[in-house]
């Protein structure tokens, strides 16, 4: 980072009337600005442009690395960290839809829940949600062939339906439960689930790995058990996943069964079911 870095603290003044689009409000974009200038940055509120300072009290202090700290209920604020390339954004409450969508780098940490499409088409960096995420987290926008395509998503709460739909690369964790069609149409990547999942996990998954560390789901008819010695890849994977902690800590110590599928499609994906 060549520009002088700064941390901005943005305290929400009041809940906005319409949803607000935070695209463009990133640590790097704000980093070069002063407090007053940052307050004049235009964001979209409903159909109208609004100055950032109208919605937030803004304080800037110099720092080693660029960062934004949001305080307040941001559940009506969408596209937090949209296409962010670097830096850090922390939110001390909930956020709206498309949080960290198309993220390319840096860290986004949300202390509350995130809405729909969190980390969708994320390509790098990390989104950590202490609460739950809505539907289509790590999924794809309409028409896109790939959902999340890199980076790490950590959800400490629950996930909604269609988690990681069309995800292609990267690693995603759900510590709690997942909704229906968990990892539907998965293209590739690794997903570890700590709790239980809804109906039709892995529906039409093409490649990729699902690790069910919690409740073992019923295996559909279009998945096939492969009885081979898995210890090598399992050790590599389990040791890596275990670093996330929580329900994944003990993975390296558990024996695992493997099912390949979904043979309704390419059938090169796998379910790993630790015993």
């Amino acid at each position: 980072m060549s520009a002088p870095a700064a941390v901005f603290e943005l305290r929400l003044r009041a809940l906005p009337r319409f949803r607000v689009d935070l695209a463009g409000v990133t640590p790097l974009a704000l980093g070069a600005l002063g407090e007053a200038e940052a307050g004049r940055v235009a964001i979209r509120h409903g159909n109208e442009a609004l100055a950032l300072g109208e919605l937030f009290e803004i304080r800037r202090r110099p720092a080693n690395a660029p960062a934004l700290h949001f305080e307040g209920d941001l559940s009506r604020f969408d596209r937090l960290a949209w296409e962010m390339e670097d830096g850090e954004i922390r939110v001390d409450g909930p956020v709206g839809h498309y949080a960290a969508a198309r993220l390319r780098g840096g860290l986004v940490a949300v202390a509350g829940d995130a809405g729909g499409f969190a980390a969708c088409e994320m390509a790098g960096g990390e989104l950590a949600v202490a609460g739950s995420v809505g539907d289509f987290a790590a999924a794809a926008l309409p028409g896109s062939m790939d959902g999340m395509r890199g980076g790490t998503l950590v959800v400490r709460g629950d996930a909604g339906a269609r988690f990681a739909d069309r995800m292609r690369r990267g690693t995603a964790f759900v510590f709690g439960n997942a909704g229906d069609f968990f990892a539907s149409r998965l293209v590739a990547g690794t997903i570890a689930l700590g709790g239980r999942c809804g109906a039709h996990p892995g529906w039409a998954m093409r490649r990729g790995t699902l690790v069910f560390a919690g409740e073992t789901p019923a295996v559909p008819a279009t998945f096939v058990e492969t009885g081979h010695d898995l210890r090598v890849i399992w050790t590599l994977l389990a040791r890596d996943l275990a670093r996330a902690g929580g329900p994944f800590t003990a993975l390296p110590d558990r024996r695992v069964r493997r099912f390949a599928g979904d043979i309704a499609v390419d059938g090169k994906g796998e379910w790993l079911l630790p015993e």
Binding site: R17, N47, A49, H97, G116, P142, W203, T222, I263, A264
Partner: protein
Amino acid sequence: MTASPTPTDAPPLPWTCPFCALLCDGVALARGETLELRGSDCPKARQALAQQPADTAAATPTIDGRAASLDEALDAAARLLAGATLPLFAGLATDVAGIRSLYALASARDAILDHLLGDAIMASVRPLQDRGVYYTTLAEVRTRADLIVCFGTRPAERYPEFFRRIAPGEPRRREIVFVGTDTDPAAAGPDTELEAVPFAGDAFDTLALLNALAADRALAAPPPGPLAGLAARLQAARYAVIVWEPGASGAQGALVGEAINRLVGTLNARTRAASLALGGSQGGYTANQVVTWLSGLPLRTGLFRDGLRHDPWALATARVLAGRNADLLLWVSSFDPSATPPAADLPTIILGHAAMPPVAGAPQVFIPVATPGIGAAGHLFRLDGGVVVPLVQARDDGLPTVAAIAGAIAQRLAAPASGAGS
């Protein structure tokens, strides 16, 4: 064809029924006190015709529940729209002309567009956006299909004339298989064999198995016999058509569509097959087609001031309203009086069917409009996508068209005095 009143003994009017997306045009209307269907006993058409008020003169515009002149109502509607910054145009149950006119208004007011059957429409659009489809149309089904698989639907329940419309014009053997439902006697016909194949699990499990079987994949456990038999017949058919119903396929209906089209794709590698998605009633496919060609994007697109954004999830009427992410609802419903606007604590403009019951609540303007195919001529898209069927005016009921109302509101907004726009 605007003559009115029509004597009862006049020959029935060759008519096109607008009340479901089959748009049956081989029927006629006898026009007396009431409108009576000839050439078909379609219960859906009969019910809809029975709902047409005999006297539309009683249907007047209202402002906040009080009767008003059309001019007053238009003024009030224009005022509401001018004061809104984020309007939602929903319902959109109208014809081509209506959507064209509403689109210009929506563009001027930066509105969000959705249809009252938006969930079903998106369930048919998403498979197309995500992976593509291979589809067919009624004449092809009628002329060439030797195996018709109704997947999870009994089409005649919502499209009563469906099997009549796809009945071969000359003797030809065909099989109609109902997967996941009982056979429908409505499908019976000469040389037609009916069969029911139960789901193995639910629709999704069944489609997964069918896809694996059609691709000759080995399964861990033998599949249910009837399903394996169906897969074999799909592979052997000269032209297999898989009929499904996006609106009846549940919250993840788009995935049903995708799986069906995967099956069709697998079959098309060696033989011939196609899918047919039943939907698009109440001008649903019409609204989607017109909005798509005008804007470049399908329904559930916001013509926002800073750009167009298509979001089938966030811009669903229910989600927009629940999130209070609009400050005005313009509701258009010209076919079905029971298709009333969803509860919303928002100023509401209703361009509604003349028999629509009053809706309690927020400040609102109600303007009764002609039903295309009853009070006005028009055009609608048929359920198979590319065929536009002309509607005739059955009688002159004095009601304005949606196109006319939207145009009149737009004119008021454009007038400098209204203070609208900017």
